[in-house]
């Protein structure tokens, strides 16, 4: 009797780690499911704070994780790797954003240009630890391995069923909350879940919220590679 009990216990102890999933694996799965060779999307960014509200339409083209072109009402933002370029029709030059300029908000919203410069994979910049797990979500804690990242600590809630991020809290090294991102509505695209409506809150700004709504999403497109070049940044 005792022998069979020990055998059963050992069996479970050996098999348990095989069934459990690590934080790194969760992030890898999330990124795998969120990756598209290329994409085109359209949507609206609506911001509200104590100074009023504003609304901008955007169009976004992407190729992999490294090449992104966003067209807003008044400007174009080109991301090549971790470098950002801004194009304005009345300026003689294309502006390369770096240093403190990256902390500027995009169109007065709760998003900063710095938010766009993160690496293609969180695993390149963070150590991941699975903090909690309940019936629906995994809670991950991310600690930065590089000093250059905008948010040294992150808490991420991942939906267990679809491996999609439902909420993120971005903090300083000491754990002071800076920004909160929460997906409040998803849309299914080719059997994958995409965030339809996302709320971004810059905690440092008083009564400020930004709502991003995705209205159109397409993948597997034949994008002209030239659209991701500085030379092609013109209306």
């Amino acid at each position: 009797m005792f022998r069979s009990f020990v055998t059963t216990l050992l069996f479970f102890l050996i098999l348990l780690p095989l069934g459990a999933i690590s934080g790194t694996e969760i992030v890898r799965e999330v990124e795998k499911r969120g990756y598209f060779e290329n994409s085109y999307s359209e949507g609206v960014i609506e911001s509200t704070d104590r100074l009023g509200s504003s609304s901008f339409k955007f169009k976004s083209f992407s190729e992999g994780d490294d090449k992104v072109l966003i067209e807003l009402d008044e400007q174009k933002i080109l991301k090549l790797g971790e470098t950002l370029y801004l194009f304005y029709p009345d300026a003689d030059v294309v502006i390369r954003l770096q240093g403190s300029a990256l902390r500027q908000t995009i169109l007065g919203s709760d998003l900063s240009y710095q938010d766009m410069t993160q690496s293609s994979s969180l695993l390149n910049e963070y150590d991941v630890k699975l903090l909690e797990e309940n019936q629906d979500t995994y809670l991950l804690e991310l600690d930065a391995t590089k000093k250059s990242v905008a948010y040294p600590k992150q808490l991420i809630w991942v939906d267990k069923k679809n491996f999609t991020i439902v909420k993120r809290q971005l903090s300083t090294k000491e754990g002071r909350l800076l920004k909160e991102i929460e997906v409040i509505e998803f849309v299914t695209y080719n059997q994958r879940l995409l965030p339809k409506i996302t709320l971004v809150t810059d905690v440092l700004k008083k009564n400020s919220t930004t709502k991003m709504t995705l209205n159109k999403f397409e993948t597997d497109l034949k994008l002209d590679p030239l659209i991701f070049s500085i030379q092609n940044l013109k209306w």
Partner: protein, 359 residues
């Protein structure tokens, strides 16, 4: 200083959006003024001598992949002619023309960023619809602003170009007004005429602590003047007293010859009066000439005031009021005459016997 505030900061009276006033630290340009409508209404107020539209906004100048902060001021260069003589600020080149993408830039800022006349610069700013925008301007001139801090921080651009750049249509951020008469009453009159609760109409000095401070300081000048008058009176009284004692021999002789005490007193009083009047008149003329010269060329404090963040010009131009030299001369004559009265009377009271000791 008052002129600087009137010309660049607050006018005699300033109109802004009430909400802007509360949040002005973050330059919420979307809370602006409907310039065409307000212009029509202000033109009907006879007491207003001139008024100009302005847009103040923070920007950054983009040079060699770096951003340098700058303050920009959009103004209508044609309308400004009715408000102030902007040609005075031009140290080289010229003022921008309306409807041209041109700027004139503070000479120190130009020096710091190695910008020269004819260069094209690109500047970024937050727009009135709270997005961002960038635009390139041609630098057509370098400026030496009467407010020192502006030389290292600011540039001026045509209003229409700034309105286009900041997506403000025909709106402006503020209107500065030159008003002849009582400013508080003027602000009240404009407030009643415009009848818009979204506007804040403030007179010069209402919210400017430096201006208020300078007003307090100006009273201390009277105390300093009083101190110098007392000092000068003491010196004059002492000098007259010395003259009386040094001339005991003369007093003794005059008294022995039959001069009355009153005549001796009058003698010293007249003598002091003549020299005091001469001194006061010559002093006032000299002071007037020096003031007129400095009023023209100014007293240059540029080096001493570099880095001082106040609305005070680096070149001080003394203002001479016509009545001042006359009043000061009369005042000096009266004070010095009073100062000589006591020693003169003392001279007259000297007894013959005592005075004869010195003969």
């Amino acid at each position: 200083m008052e002129n600087n505030l009137i010309n660049y900061i607050s006018g005699d009276i300033k109109i802004e959006d009430r909400r802007w006033e509360k949040e002005k630290k973050v330059y919420p340009l979307h809370w602006n003024l409907d310039w065409p409508t307000l212009k029509d209404k202000l033109e009907k107020i006879d007491e207003i001598s001139s008024f100009v539209p302005r847009i103040n906004f923070p920007s950054s100048i983009y040079i060699n992949e770096k951003n340098y902060p700058a303050l920009a001021l959009g103004l209508d260069f044609e309308l400004e002619k009715t408000y102030q003589d902007l040609n005075q600020i031009v140290v080289s080149g010229r003022l921008p023309k309306n409807d041209q993408r041109e700027i004139i830039i503070g000479y120190q800022l130009a020096q710091d960023l190695n910008i020269k006349e004819g260069d094209r610069i690109t500047t970024l700013a937050q727009t009135a619809n709270r997005g961002s925008n960038a635009i390139s301007f041609t630098v057509v001139g370098l400026a030496n602003f009467p407010i020192t801090s502006m030389n290292s921080t600011s540039f001026l651009a045509p209003l229409s170009e700034v309105q286009y750049f900041l997506k403000m249509d025909q709106n402006v951020q503020q209107i500065l007004i030159k008003y002849e008469g009582n400013r508080v009453k003027g602000a009240s009159l404009i407030d009643k005429t415009l009848e818009d609760e979204n506007l804040t109409i403030s007179e010069l000095g209402k919210d400017d602590y430096i201006y208020s401070m300078m007003k307090v300081v100006s009273y201390s000048y009277y105390l300093i003047a009083l101190f110098f008058f007392i000092l000068a009176s003491t010196v004059i009284a002492n000098t007259t007293m010395m003259a009386v004692f040094e001339r005991m021999q003369e007093i003794g002789t005059l008294r022995a010859l039959g001069a009355y005490k009153k005549e001796i007193t009058t003698l010293f009083l007249y003598e002091a009066l003549i020299s005091n009047t001469f001194g006061a008149v010559v002093g006032s003329i000299l002071g007037t000439v020096i003031s007129l010269i400095f009023a023209k060329v100014g007293i240059n404090f540029t080096d001493a005031m570099s880095g001082v963040e106040m609305n005070i010009g680096s070149i001080i131009y003394p203002h001479l009021h016509f009545m001042n030299p006359i009043l000061v001369a009369l005042y000096a004559i009266v004070i010095t005459s009073l100062a000589t009265l006591i020693p003169s009377r003392k001279g007259g009271k000297i007894e013959i016997v005592e005075a004869m000791k010195y003969v």
